[in-house]
């Protein structure tokens, strides 16, 4: 959507900043990934890639007030990557001569694989764009986000399923629809200990694992095309099992057992965090009761911070 336009020094700009209204931006957390691995592009080259499991009920909110001089200051000051993202967005909008004050407020816990940092970055990019009465395409937001923080995820696409190259900021495959309707009962393994995501070395996958990812991609494509939560759950489970060989989570087998006992669709994890999620078909009769029982079983088994999360079942006004 184009802005209303304005004039500055005689020239007409399609998107001049509104100096009296701060821009706002919002971005959601995620619950790790449904699938993560390496995937071929159409020329046969391998890229690290993932399918994010987005959450809509935890958000980061950013506010950007444009100032007529260079430089971005941020509150709280430790959100350096968000400030960097704001600067990159100003440059993208051909407005590097401007700056401003960025305020970020987040309800997303840090260090468990909820993607708090990416949410801050994406919310900030959106806030700056909004100050210019602009909405950027998800692909542009993702590219800027990767520039700001080295590795990102696909939350800018919200519930639209994409296979995203998290270190390059490009989409490997658009699956063409939203994820199937699911609920995720999420909890923390490893006694809720923090993980320093970016300090982790990237996983080195075996040939068999790399070949397996090709099939996982096919399963994801099919599950999205036919909105099949069971197939998606089976694919996520296999991806989680592969992840377990590279970054083991304590009590992963226990989580698999709970999922089996309650006939869940499958199990997903934050491949570089401590989150585990048990996936349910949102359209199954009695899903709320099953979710409660699974949550109870997970808490009894010693998992921390158990939450029942319908995935994008209620769309928030943006």
């Amino acid at each position: 959507m184009k802005g209303s336009g304005g004039s500055l020094g005689g020239a007409v700009f399609p998107n001049a900043p509104s100096l009296d209204r701060p821009g706002t931006g919002r971005a959601g957390a995620h619950h790790g990934e449904l699938i993560q691995g390496v995937f071929q592009d159409e020329r046969g080259r391998l890229h690290r890639g993932l399918i994010t499991l987005p959450l809509s009920h935890m958000n980061s909110l950013a506010l950007f007030e444009v100032a007529d001089e260079q430089g971005v200051s941020v509150v709280p000051p430790e959100k350096m990557k968000a400030a960097k993202a704001a600067l990159l967005t100003l440059r993208h909008l051909d407005s590097h001569h401007l700056g401003g004050l960025l305020t970020v407020e987040s309800a997303i816990p840090v260090g468990h694989g909820y993607g708090s940092s990416t949410a801050d970055v994406v919310a900030s990019i959106r806030a700056v764009a909004d100050a210019f009465e602009m909405q950027l395409r998800p692909s542009v937001v993702c590219r800027l986000a990767v520039e700001a923080e080295r590795a990102s995820d696909a939350i800018a696409f919200e519930d639209q399923a994409v296979l995203f190259a998290q270190r390059e900021g490009v989409v490997i495959e658009h699956f063409g629809d939203a994820l199937p309707p699911i609920w995720v009962i999420g909890f923390k393994a490893n006694d809720g200990q923090l993980v320093d995501t970016l300090a982790l070395p990237p996983a080195r996958y075996s040939s068999e694992e790399i070949q397996t990812f090709a099939m996982l991609r096919g399963l994801a494509a099919r599950s999205i095309k036919y909105q099949d939560p069971h197939l998606l759950g089976q694919a996520a489970t296999l991806s989680a099992k592969i992840s377990q060989r590279h970054l083991a989570k304590a009590q992963f087998a226990t989580a698999l057992g709970i999922a089996n006992n309650f006939d869940a669709c499958g199990v997903q994890v934050a491949h570089s965090g401590s989150l585990i999620g048990i996936i349910l078909d949102a359209t199954a009769p009695g899903v709320a009761g099953t979710a409660r029982n699974i949550a109870e079983a997970a808490a009894t088994a010693g998992f921390k911070d158990v939450v029942v999360q319908p995935i994008y079942s209620v769309r928030r006004p943006s």
């Binding site: 046969g44 040939s207 070949q211 090709a214 099939m215 096919g218 399963l219 099919r222 099949d228 197939l231």
Partner: protein
């Protein structure tokens, strides 16, 4: 963008054809392109194949054709060792047109003379020490390549309950089965062999159905994956190939006929199951034999009606070419099954 002349992606990709409400067949023009390309790509990436490298392999035909196509496009030298009973002169001429050197050994016993072929190949490797042997019998590349087929199957079918495929090197069935079972742990894997092939414990002898089965045991046959094994005689396989052509418009080779026969029987006996079938090649190479009534009429016993369903056996033994037998393998090793067979006697 670089044009990958040596990729042959379309030729490598099977047509996914529905044979019944619950059966999908992957009908390949030339299945062996999948492992051949994967093995060569891996060797190139690992630096084992450089410049004008010399590739060698022993083959009954289709793997040789696949490597020959790739070697021609990528400018490698290729020597193929085969047996006179396995390859007609037209097929040999096609391979030679692609620049391959074909060594066809005599096969007095009619068992494919795999031992002689391996000895001949050893001789070449001694003379050309840096030759690259694609090793379809025991290289991991053969089975790993079939993740691509697993991908195509799940994209067109979703959940899969039974996988039916021929066993020669074991690469296609065991590879596809390994990947599919990693996501569908209850997947039933059903192998298709033929009488007098030694792969699943029969004594060695002359085989009329060629392309599947073997006279030696490749490492890529992993018995522990197999739930059930069928021995399809040449005649039921030929009839099944004819039916595929008439009823489905699919002109496929006789091993595809055997796989379709078993796949359709599995689907009828398990109407709730989703069945995937692998069909390795087309019928053109067999136009003068399997699809020729004069040639067929020279086969002893061809007029005898062929089995329309499998006979379940508990003693593994060879049967006439009209017969079709099956055995509950139950994911056991060859040793375990054979041990029980001898104590049963």
């Amino acid at each position: 963008m670089r044009f990958d002349a040596d990729y042959f992606e379309a030729l490598e990709t099977p047509r996914m054809a529905r044979l019944a409400a619950n059966v999908v067949a992957a009908a390949f023009p030339l299945m062996k392109l999948m492992p051949a390309r994967y093995i060569l790509d891996r060797a190139e990436a690992a630096g084992e194949l450089k410049g004008k490298a010399h590739i060698v392999e022993t083959t009954s035909g289709t793997f040789g054709m696949a490597v020959a196509l790739l070697a021609a496009a990528r400018d490698y030298r290729l020597t193929l060792v085969t047996a006179s009973t396995l390859m007609d002169s037209k097929y040999q001429a096609r391979l030679q047109r692609l620049g391959a050197e074909v060594i066809a050994l005599d096969d007095p016993r009619g068992d494919g003379n795999q031992k002689g072929r391996l000895e001949s190949l050893d001789g070449i490797l001694r003379q050309v020490p840096d030759a690259f042997w694609t090793r379809q019998y025991d290289s991991d590349g053969n089975w790993l390549a079939y993740a691509r087929l697993a991908d195509l199957f799940v994209r067109s079918m979703g959940q899969i309950d039974c996988l039916v495929g021929c066993v020669g090197t074991g690469g296609s069935l065991c590879g596809t089965g390994t990947f599919l079972r990693s996501v569908f742990p209850d997947l039933k894997i059903i192998g298709v062999d033929t009488h007098r092939s030694i792969l699943f414990g029969q004594p060695l002898g002359k085989r009329v159905l060629r392309g599947l089965g073997n006279s030696v045991l490749p490492k890529n046959v992993r018995h522990e994956l197999v739930d059930e094994i069928h021995w399809v005689g040449a005649y039921p396989a030929f009839h099944a190939a004819h039916r595929l052509f008439r009823q489905h418009g699919m002109f496929m080779g006789p091993t595809s006929g055997a796989a379709a026969l078993v796949g359709q029987w599995v689907s009828k006996t398990n109407p709730e199951a989703r069945v995937a079938v692998i069909m390795p090649d087309e019928g053109h190479r067999h136009a003068d034999t399997v699809y020729n009534d004069i040639w067929l009429s020279t086969l002893p016993g061809w007029r005898t009606p062929a089995s329309a369903f499998p006979t379940k056996i508990s003693r593994i033994e060879p049967k006439p070419e009209t017969a079709w037998t099956r055995f509950d393998w139950r994911r056991r090793s060859l040793e375990d099954v054979m041990q029980l067979q001898t104590t049963d006697r």
